[in-house]
């Protein structure tokens, strides 16, 4: 049996934890750069504010209904998420952390009759210890656990749902609500007369394999109760690392764009080093805003690095060379991004025959390790490369409505009276 634990409106719940005055009030959380709505409390959902809608479209509605609007505070959400996951792991060591607010648990060691009390206890512990409400769905497969969670949240409106007789429910679940089926497949399935999850479960494996692919065919098996997807205990090291953010204001000049790009490179290299990888491939992209009526230009270019590296300085140097090729004056740029690819574990790193002629390779490891250690200990960007820019930067993201980092910064602790 699998259980899916999913925090209810996670970001909104995090914002409420230190703000009891927000209980029962509508809350929305905006994406990076305050662009779109990425989380809504139930009260905000009831006002008809859609997921992923651009903020400017609902600004009036938010003002009218006194919706509390927050920029995303990933420091806070990340800390609270780690606490929830630690508690879950103590209650069940077979865990796959699926996203910031979801985890699969394999619960075969629990007696079947004991599953509901066990899940209710987990739910209560997390609510009391961290203050975050979660829903737990239990089923024979991961896909059924997802369905059970959906039923718990949207139909039963109770914290735990055990799907021991899925047939009763599956006909009530629209096919595009099933895990892994997006809007596009949903439309295609509906066109073929497969409207709900039960119909998908009844569709023959070979038919789905032929008309779609093996992933969807497996999803149908999983809906029948045949487990095809195992728990992925350890997250695989990433094969690609992307760092890309839109600018706070549109940028025209080369220098601020290069600074933003350097900052993204430094972030990507830091991530690369935490997974002890080295990258062989570097890709840079530059974009104007597709949604504006301005002149459009979306160039990008990738290169194979001369040696596999995790050195921020080397990556920044090459990324800036690429940017030099891509950049053309006269456009209002919206976004710059970097991707590191062809990543391998550092132990297998092969030195190029020419590497001894590159002075930065000698001191690279201790220097980068020291950089990461200082920034981890004293906060991000305590020390950084000059390429990332020293003055106040207009390309920095807007996050005007961010709540304090209540759990990670001494200056930002919640006040009690």
């Amino acid at each position: 049996m699998f259980a899916l634990v999913d925090a209810n409106n996670f970001y909104a719940s995090c914002e409420r934890l230190f703000r009891p005055d927000l209980a029962g009030k509508p809350i929305i959380v905006l994406s990076n750069n305050d662009g779109c709505v990425v989380a809504r409390s139930n009260e905000a959902k009831a006002l008809g504010i859609d997921m992923a809608i651009p903020y400017f479209k609902v600004k009036q509605c938010c003002y009218q209904h006194q919706v509390h609007v927050f920029s995303s505070n990933y420091t806070l959400y990340g800390d609270l998420s780690a606490r929830v996951m630690t508690l879950l792991e103590m209650g069940c060591p077979n865990i796959e952390v699926y996203s910031i607010d979801e985890a699969f648990l394999q619960v075969d060691d629990q007696s079947f009759d004991g599953l509901i009390p066990w899940a209710e206890k987990q739910q209560q512990i997390i609510k009391q210890h961290v203050g975050i409400p979660v829903s737990i769905g239990i089923g024979k497969t991961k896909t059924l656990a997802k369905v059970a969670n959906h039923i718990a949240k949207t139909i039963l409106r109770q914290p735990v749902c055990l799907l021991d007789q899925p047939e009763q429910w599956l006909s009530r679940i629209p096919v595009d609500e099933v895990w892994g089926i997006g809007k596009r497949w949903g439309r295609k399935l509906q066109a073929l007369g497969i409207i709900n999850a039960q119909q998908l479960a009844n569709t023959p494996y070979d038919y789905l394999r032929k008309h779609f692919n093996v992933v969807l065919a497996r999803t149908a098996l999983e809906l029948q109760g045949q487990s095809c997807l195992a728990l992925e205990a350890m997250s695989e090291p990433k094969k690609n690392i992307v760092a890309s953010k839109s600018f706070g204001q549109k940028q025209i000049d080369f220098t601020p764009i290069a600074q933003a790009l350097s900052t993204h490179c430094a972030r990507a290299c830091e991530k690369l080093r935490t997974q002890s990888g080295v990258a062989n491939y570097l890709h840079v992209s530059l974009k104007t805003n597709r949604f504006s009526d301005q002149l459009q230009y979306h160039p990008h270019m990738g290169i194979k690095l001369p040696i596999a590296t995790d050195d921020s300085r080397m990556v920044i140097a090459y990324a800036k060379k690429i940017l030099g090729c891509l950049y053309k004056p006269g456009f209002k740029y919206h976004k710059v991004g970097v991707m590191l690819g062809d990543i391998h574990p550092r132990v297998f790193k092969q030195n190029s025959l020419l590497s001894s002629s590159q002075p930065m390779s000698q001191d690279s490891e201790p220097l980068m390790a020291m950089l990461d250690q200082i920034n981890r200990r004293y906060g991000r960007h305590q020390i950084y490369l000059a390429a990332m820019g020293m003055q106040k930067q207009t390309w920095k993201m807007q996050s005007n409505r961010k709540s304090p980092a209540y759990t990670t910064c001494w200056q930002s602790l919640a006040k009690v009276y």
Binding site: R83, Q128, H129, V130, M234, P237, S276, A414, V416
Partner: protein
């Protein structure tokens, strides 16, 4: 009997050393309470602690203190029993001065502890977080300030009040 079935298959499975650690790994038993510390150690490569004794050892002459180094002092061990449920908040005002809580002090709050009669708690009353001593009566709760200037807050069923967590320690700079 089919001798070709079952048992070990040579070269089966993923090659060693391709996981997130980039080298071969082995399972070990760890006390549950130390799991986080070990994970932290693996993530950061090391932890920094202040040794109780620090001795340079003269060659050939063992320090008499060596046998007595038992532990390192870590304030987290002393102040935090349950890391997942422990939060820090800052006290403002003098309503709990009698309990040794001054304005500006950092309070260590553990949400895992059951709020019982007499505990100093953080409560959410009328949308605000407040620190008071909890008194549990048969039909209601009372939140008592440790300062005669502040009247007790009587919490009835209808009133919007939630016990947020139990204060375990006060960190006060002198």
């Amino acid at each position: 009997m089919t001798p070709n079935h079952g048992g070990k298959r040579d070269n089966a499975g993923r090659p060693k050393g391709q996981g997130p650690h980039g080298e071969s790994t082995k399972p070990i038993r760890i006390p549950l309470s130390r799991v986080e510390a070990v994970k932290q150690f693996i993530r950061t490569g090391r932890t920094i602690r202040i040794p109780l004794y620090s001795n340079s050892i003269p060659a050939g002459f063992p320090s008499p203190a060596d046998d007595h180094i038992e532990n390192h002092l870590d304030l987290n061990d002393y102040l935090v029993q349950n890391p997942s449920s422990t939060f820090m908040v800052r006290a403002v005002g003098d309503s709990m001065i009698g309990a040794g809580i001054h304005s500006g002090d950092v309070l260590v709050v553990d949400r895992a502890i059951t709020p019982t009669n007499g505990k100093v708690v953080i409560a959410a009353v009328d949308g605000e977080l407040t620190v008071k001593r909890l008194e549990i009566h048969q039909d209601h709760l009372c939140l008592i300030a440790e300062n005669p200037k502040y009247p007790p807050i009587r919490v009835s069923e209808s009133q919007d009040a939630v016990i947020w967590g139990v204060v375990t320690n006060v960190i006060h700079a002198v």
